[in-house]
């Protein structure tokens, strides 16, 4: 049984179903017909701010659980549906670097992972083929790797303009790897560069697991139960999982029996459910003998630096975020006042409403200067998003709120997260360097936000992997130390965060865990 039908749950379901395992997935959301996404609605910008908002607290659908983020410097973002947050992600998919798995050995901070880049290489490739990766080899910032199945997405005039600015400074840039179709792929259309990938893709050109892994898994016999909100992982007297209690769409309490449980509810949903699953065998919550469930929460802090470049126009044409990236400042440099580093992702402008409301910046001013301010921004705005490596700290936590509940009366997660001094310095540096590039590109005005509060796309670290049961929740195969038939395969298992979008890495980890189950845990086959 898998809990959660998002990025990692889908990958595991496909691999296990392929190997003949009986798979059932409990998903609190629904299957969404891609034709329902708002990108072909004339009110698409308004819908994207409300019904299709990235933030579950603003969206407020019955299948969403609220999150108490009042004590967090960053608001978590997620989506409850078959496909999970791959429904609304931008599908920017760089890989971790080899160094990301060895930060303790290399830089003396945090911990090393129990696995290496090489352990995941095969699974990265497998995932790239399933999800559909567009990109090109030869990037000097990363190790050599297998060719992608599709060529890169075109840079567009604005992308080429920014690439030239990076080159004049002698700074690295490379076309972004992404899971968007630059050509028809596996029965899905090529992207037509509408740009609004964050609202879901009506053409299925942007990859999400509801249009790739899940159809294959279902064809192989996997079953997805939608509107199934799990309230507790049940255990026997021996402490091993026996299944899950859940509420169906009508609010009826039900039970799903299972030989094993794979947790794939994201870095907040998974610890929430583990903490809700208290029993005599697991009095502090399931898998929590180490006390680390819900601790070490990591986001990727984002800085947003926007340049207004008069030489560019119509920068709202093209994919919002899959253009180019720079990893010039990715690794630790002792000359800087922080350890580890950050990457840049170039983003484009947006529509009229998004521009007026400012995005990560102040809205366009009201009153006498309104039209001048709007005209300066609209169609001329180019964004460099700095994505920083967050380091794990035990005081950054997911706990259960004692008052806020979801629509089934289950406790909502409460987030306590404080941006570290290292991350703050790193973000400040990213703003400074981004300003340099944007000025080089001809920006006449630069707006900077050193920490995007509404930028908690990546949820990691709250059930970390490791060899020591006292310092970790799962082992290198994502199998829990406390109950050998419970696995955690989402971003919760990350030991550190790297400075790139985590989905290809968490999916590769999930596929590796599934292979372990297939080859080493035949007793779980049913």
């Amino acid at each position: 049984m898998i809990v959660g039908a998002g990025a990692s749950g889908a990958a595991v379901a496909w691999r296990l179903a392929q190997a003949g395992f009986s798979v059932v997935c409990l998903e609190q959301g629904r299957w969404i017909n891609p034709s329902l996404y708002p990108t072909d609605d004339k009110n698409w910008e308004i819908l994207g701010r409300h019904e299709w908002n990235w933030d579950p607290n603003k969206r407020g659908n019955p299948e969403d659980y609220p999150v108490n983020d009042a004590e967090s410097d960053i608001s978590p973002l997620m989506f409850a549906a078959v496909g999970g947050s791959t429904i609304h992600w931008t599908a920017h998919t760089p890989r971790f670097h080899p160094s990301d798995f060895r930060v303790k050995s290399l830089d003396g901070v945090a911990d090393d992972w129990p696995i290496t880049y090489d352990d995941l290489d095969t699974y990265y490739d497998m995932n790239d083929m399933m999800m559909g990766c567009s990109g090109i080899n030869g990037d000097p910032a990363v190790p050599p790797r297998s060719p992608r199945p599709m060529p890169p997405i075109p840079l567009g005039k604005d992308g080429a303009h920014m690439a030239a600015a990076f080159e004049r400074l002698g700074w690295h840039w490379w076309p972004s790897d992404n899971y968007m179709n630059s050509m028809p792929y596996k029965g899905r259309d090529a992207c037509n560069y509408c740009g609004r990938v964050g609202f879901g893709c009506t053409r299925k050109a942007k990859s999400s697991t509801d249009v790739n892994y899940w159809p294959e898994a279902v064809r192989l016999g996997a079953v997805v139960k939608t509107h199934a909100r799990v309230s507790e992982i049940t255990v026997g007297a021996n402490g091993r999982a026996t299944g899950a209690n859940y509420f169906d769409r009508a609010g009826n309490a039900k039970h799903q029996a299972a030989r094993s449980v794979v947790m794939a509810g994201n870095g907040i949903g998974t610890p929430r459910l583990l903490l809700m699953s208290k029993s005599d065998a697991h009095p502090d919550g399931l898998l929590n003998s180490s006390g680390l469930v819900g601790k070490n929460l990591m986001f990727h802090p984002y800085s947003i630096t926007t340049g207004l470049i008069p030489d560019l126009s119509e920068t709202w044409q093209g994919p919002m975020g899959n253009i180019l990236m720079s990893q010039e400042f990715y690794e630790t440099d002792p000359k800087r006042d922080f350890v580890r580093g950050y990457a840049y992702q170039m983003n484009r402008g947006t529509g009229p409403l998004g521009t007026a409301l400012g995005g990560a910046h102040e809205p366009v001013t009201w009153g006498a200067g309104h039209h001048e301010d709007f005209s300066e921004r609209f169609g001329h705005n180019v964004v460099l998003a700095g994505i920083g490596e967050d380091l794990p700290e035990e005081h950054n936590t997911v706990t259960l709120d004692d008052r806020l509940t979801d629509s089934n009366g289950l406790p909502a997660p409460k987030i306590n997260y404080t941006l570290s001094e290292n991350s703050r310095r790193l973000m400040d540096h990213s703003v400074k360097s981004a300003t340099t590039v944007l000025r080089e590109a001809g920006a006449t005005r630069v707006m900077a936000n050193p920490l995007l509060r509404s930028g908690g796309w990546h949820l990691m670290g709250t059930a970390r992997m490791g060899d020591d049961p006292e310092r970790s929740v799962v082992d290198q195969w994502c199998q829990s130390h406390d109950a050998d038939n419970v696995f955690v395969v989402d971003g919760s298992v990350f030991v550190t965060a790297g400075a790139v979008n985590p989905t290809p890495t968490l999916q590769a980890i999930a596929l590796r865990a599934a292979d372990y189950i297939v080859h080493e845990r035949d007793d779980l086959k049913g």
């Binding site: 290496t116 910032a141 509408c194 009229p352």
Partner: protein, 155 residues
């Protein structure tokens, strides 16, 4: 805090039309947001999202109650300079609600087809047409490929 089911009065509507013109003034041959007749759409839009309606009512209450008690004829009778000063006072007193009200006004103004035409926006949803951004040109990587690999090796 006003209840979100309160209905707008005629006075509210007069005040709102004027505030809309102050928030987004006329430009070129386009009237301000009030002159475009968007007050009714703002009101309708507020019915859809409770948070924004609450903000709108808070601002209208603050404007009408505060100014009407001090000036005969209320807010509408003030000259523009004093109207702007009054709106800025309310903005300072109720920053969250004012921000939500501006959000509602912008949602209405920047989804209007007349505005789209003036600013050169395509005036259609992104799909199904999408956009043409050219084709991938591998020669753009000629310089980037010259750089030696610089990723950090590990044991």
């Amino acid at each position: 805090m006003p209840t979100s089911d309160r209905q707008l009065t005629d006075v509210d509507r007069v005040v709102m039309k004027r505030i809309l013109d102050l928030i987004i003034p006329a430009v070129d041959d386009l009237p301000g947001a009030g002159g475009l007749g968007l007050a009714e759409r703002v009101e309708r839009g507020s019915m859809r999202y409770g948070r924004l309606r609450s903000g709108m009512l808070s601002i209208l209450d603050a404007m009408t109650l505060d100014i009407a008690s001090r000036v005969e004829g209320g807010f509408a009778a003030l000259d523009e300079e004093r109207q702007i000063a009054s709106v800025k006072t309310v903005e300072a007193d109720l920053p969250v609600q004012f921000s939500e009200f501006v959000e509602l006004v912008y949602e209405t103004y920047y989804t209007d087809s007349r505005v789209h035409e003036r600013i050169g926006w395509v005036g259609r949803p992104p799909q199904p047409e999408g956009f043409d951004i050219g084709s991938w040109d591998p020669s753009i990587l000629e310089n980037a490929r010259k750089r030696e690999p610089f990723w950090r090796k590990v044991e």
